[in-house]
Subunit: 474 residues, 3 copies
């Protein structure tokens, strides 16, 4: 396997072995940052940032300059032709004819996939809405690796905004795949989205255990953590690495009180909240990690990590503490991105062993593609945006049919549509053109390639389908 | 002739031979893009974009990087000292003392000329309002040349917004000069401006034939093209190359039904429209080129071109069609701009034959320069802007005096002022200080250097002139 | 002394000898601009501009490119993570882990010092609010040096907005230190701030003489200068170089009518004015330097300087005058910044003689540091901003105690707090915990390290202090 000419849209685009390969080249880059200045000479990186960012963009641009390459950049949605109503696909094709590699950040979820599909050059996702931000995950994993030598078996707590924090989503997939045990400590109302948890279970074989907050020794006496009694901790462990922990009984106190290898703190993604009183509440009740918080003996050797920028959730007084890792994380972003860029451009080569079996990489779901019918229910999904509907084909993976569950191939949100039909059964006879409830047994009798799916009866009827006898029964 | 240290403000700044020279160097650049990385080493290009743009700016910056040069850029009017009230001339002088070459895009028409006048280094106009965008024209011509080997004799239809589209204006001058026949298919209300048509006739010797829409075989049955019956097609042919076509009778059906070499589609320049219901109408009735449109046999081998970005006027379904050229056009912008930059900086040299006679290049009109009197009537003209009136001298070419027609040297709009006077005739005697109607025979008796021109009687009187006996007669 | 790895936050960070060293390397750069392209190869400059700027940013970026280095830049506060509530210190630490040198412009006064404190790499202040802009001063001084060979003994008039113009503040310190005599001609209401004048007297040994406007031969008959009769000229001379001029009598007409070596014109810093009718008045009465103004024989050989951008205060008609220096000033910004960057990065070396005694450099005031009590009274000071109070410790220099005068270490504004206490005297007995008026003799009896200072009685009481018997007496 080689990384040349490939794109990195989600962290799952890299196998465990490829992640290790990036790390090994990053080590080489780190040790001789100043000797790399001809590796990518003559190459151009396009840095397209359609959302505010300093750190990620400057980190990528630094990486490219350290490799001897050049950078062209567009950094504000108002200063670009997107403001003139151009599609992402057009932009990708044009910029792909200028640059050798593209780095894209965009508010629409799935936008990076579109760029990768159309650019004709390697594309790196630098964050697409609340979807993924895989290079941040590489920096996080690299820091864990440098500090603990391995990721397998580590105990890592994720704390704060687990709902909107895209860094968190990419990270938890990778941690699970690489064999770490993860503890979720969401801020009130900021729980990990269901589809992420679902994917961890069905595709990474994780076991999810839910433990009521008052059972958690960890949180006893921490009224400052949250005044909200409904706070739970969620315990996720990969079935692969931790088979022994998969005991049927939930109370595993010995695990819950032992030390954490890392505490990963995130800020409230305020820019993704609707501006309401709610936002104010979320802000007020948001957990804060400070010197007092870190006094617990379970944190004695815990690496304190944060993707930055921080606001109030991680006190400045922690900065001088040797456990603080966040500035190291940021600094390591440069060698990681140097390694990644060099590999995708074929400017450097590393040995990558044959891929071991990885459930997430091998599973292939049947695809659902139609010009009409069900659409993604995520309003931030790129497939729903006016400029993109001109060319994008609706496309879903059919994850399961009991209940019928589709995953959007762009933003990876899951939808559960209620009505189905077949393009085979009606045989051109209008009276046979019927739709059915998705929870009837028919969902299993229609071949995937014949399936037509609707999210409402009115849509089905608009396409000339009539309710079947099954439409209202189970 | 050499291009070293010259500027490119309008496409007429290059002779036909010089355009060919740019193409020949572009071929060389295209064939060895990666071997150019030391051609402009140590040189700096300033990229000053005071209007939104991705594609043009990135194309220029890519070109400079591919040549091994560096780029400094200012990309937003709000982030610059223009916001502090600085004049364009000052900015040009200062940036000209930093950079070796300047690329400028500006909303004011004529702004690029000011920059070229003051910078002291070569300046490339990357679009000044609705005036010109000569490098886009070079990319367009280069694509025609690459696909058809020659431009002379090609039949090219220009379609869409011919009123505000600056790319169109530069293009039609060049096509006419280079011997192509052009067909104008404006969207409703978006006709080619009169001054452009006028200039094609008087300076490029073009013959303009106007044919009512219902006489045009081409448009028969194309109700989808426009619901508007007033749509005309305008047929322009250079006298030079197509003398034979200049038959007095207008009906030349054999030409009108034969094939087109290229169809050049443009988007509606919405950002130049005043936000009114009008804008909505223009949008609704705007022509759309799609697969159905292109089925006509006159388009069988037609190159479908577009300067991009597109909105709805060119359907995505055409992208996969081998006739689609627009992404190639965009990609070829890089070698074209590499060639141009290298030539202006003297970093590359090509043989340019002696210039053949070119009407547009040789005609010299008498100039009209005054501190007072008539001003340009184009509100977007750089000469009228508050920050620029501090130093700009009003200056016009006197195109003809029957009727008196002036062309602004900055934005090239034409004005037809009504009143004239002489600075010679009154001999210091106040009673002799009189103004006259511009359509009297006096306009031919006053020497150009003595001419004083007013756009209103009140202005003339404000400067102490009284109406003459001739002021109200012919 | 070496400049390697040092920062330039205020002009006082450079000794007179170091300034000369920068000039000598700038001469070398100027003479071989095109031969420097490997001096900083592989080095990266971060250009962080949180206020609008073209000229300064492009000048720095040009300088870095001319040295063969690379540039990463963030140019708009809305496009950065500051918009997400991040502190300047965090940004500095992260960017400092990417780049080899940082150039920062920021609206908050003292922001550059924070960046220099936290970045871990050399930092250059490119303007922090109305505080300082030391590289502009270097360009100004370099122009004087090039045109007059020396700065010692020059007579220089500063004209216009002396209140908000940060370039003026850095400049006058340097001119005074280097032995020039300065004349202040403020626009009405735009006088030099008191703390700047104070510092010139107390730290640079300058003698400040105030002369009523009607005594000034220079301004006789210049009603166009200002309709405002309250206009004064302020005459500043360094005690060191001009001891003889320090005569007790104020009328020194021979000096006032003799020639000026330079006239330094500045624009009204409108962006720092509150938008009121006041702003309109300031604009209307602002002095204008034009051809007529410069006809006075005292300006016969005067260098006309301006930091640019200009608006109306310096007429374009002066541009062609050989006395105009402002475009030369701008152009010389490049070699000056090349020299400075190369020296701070250790990429070039020049001999710097031992520092002579310099009052400003050697004086060490006692420091006042507390978690509570008096804060800076300048609302633009970085120490008062919400994002920064999380980590910044309040810190002042105690300039004098009669009357008690503190200077903020961040923005250098002076405060005159009214109440003091000691952390020593109350010996834990609550009744002894008292505060006193700052103008009693007690201020000299409390050791600086024990001093507690309050700006109001209510604050003192909020911290548990009670009024002493001295609190209301002197």
């Amino acid at each position: 396997m080689s990384l040349v000419n490939r794109s990195l849209v989600t962290i799952d685009d890299l196998s465990n072995e490829e992640i290790e390969a990036v790390f090994s080249l990053a080590d080489e880059m780190l040790n001789s940052v100043n000797n790399q200045s001809n590796v990518c000479q003559g190459k151009i990186m396009a840095s397209l940032f359609f959302e505010p960012s300093t750190r990620t963009r400057l980190s990528f641009e630094t990486a490219m300059h350290r490799l001897g390459g050049s950078v062209i950049s567009a950094i504000d949605v108002n200063a670009t032709s997107l403001a003139k109503g151009e599609s992402i696909a057009d932009m990708a094709r044009v910029v792909g004819s200028y640059a050798d590699i593209i780095v894209i950040r965009h508010p629409w979820e799935g936008a990076a996939k579109i760029v990768a599909d159309y650019a004709g050059v390697p594309v790196i996702n630098a964050g697409d809405g609340s979807h993924e931000h895989p290079t941040q995950t590489l920096c996080d994993l690299y820091t864990l690796k440098k500090e603990r030598q391995t990721i397998k078996g580590l105990r890592i707590a994720l704390c704060g905004d687990l709902k909107y924090g895209r860094t968190i989503h990419s990270l938890i997939y990778a941690l699970t795949r690489l064999g770490a045990t993860t503890f979720l400590w969401p801020g009130p109302g900021l729980d990990m989205p269901e589809n992420v948890k679902q994917k961890l279970v069905t595709e990474y074989g994780a076991v999810v255990e839910k433990i009521p907050a008052d059972n958690l020794p960890l949180l006893v006496g921490r009224d400052d953590w949250s005044g909200n009694n409904s706070l739970d901790a969620i315990y996720i462990t990969p079935s692969h690495a931790h088979q022994l922990a998969l005991i049927p009984d939930i109370s595993i106190p010995i695990d819950l009180v032992s030390e954490y290898d890392a505490l990963y703190v995130t800020r409230l993604q305020q820019e993704r909240l609707v501006a309401t009183a709610d936002g104010q509440d979320l802000k007020r009740d948001y957990p804060v990690v400070d010197r007092k918080f870190l006094k617990g003996k379970e944190f004695k050797k815990t690496l304190v990590m944060h993707p930055l920028p921080r606001i109030d959730e991680l006190a400045h007084e922690v900065d001088a503490d040797p456990r603080s890792m966040y500035f190291k994380q940021a600094a390591r972003g440069v060698p990681i991105r140097m390694a990644l860029i060099a590999l995708l451009l074929g400017a450097k080569d590393v040995y990558i062993p044959e891929k071991e079996s990885s459930p997430a990489q091998e599973r292939a779901y049947p695809l659902y593609k139609r010009d009409f019918g069900v659409t993604c229910s995520n309003s931030k999904c790129v497939s729903l945006q006016e400029t993109e509907t001109r060319y994008i084909k609706i496309e879903f993976e059919i994850i399961t049919n009991r209940p019928l569950t589709l995953r959007c191939v762009y933003c990876e949100h899951e939808v559960h549509p209620q009505y189905i039909a077949s393009c085979n059964w009606h045989q051109g006879m209008l009276k046979n053109k019927k739709y059915h409830r998705a929870d009837t047994h028919l969902v299993r009798r229609i071949k995937p390639e014949n399936l037509i799916i609707f999210d409402s009866e009115s849509k089905a009827q608009a396409y000339g389908f009539k309710p079947s006898n099954y439409a209202s029964e189970r």
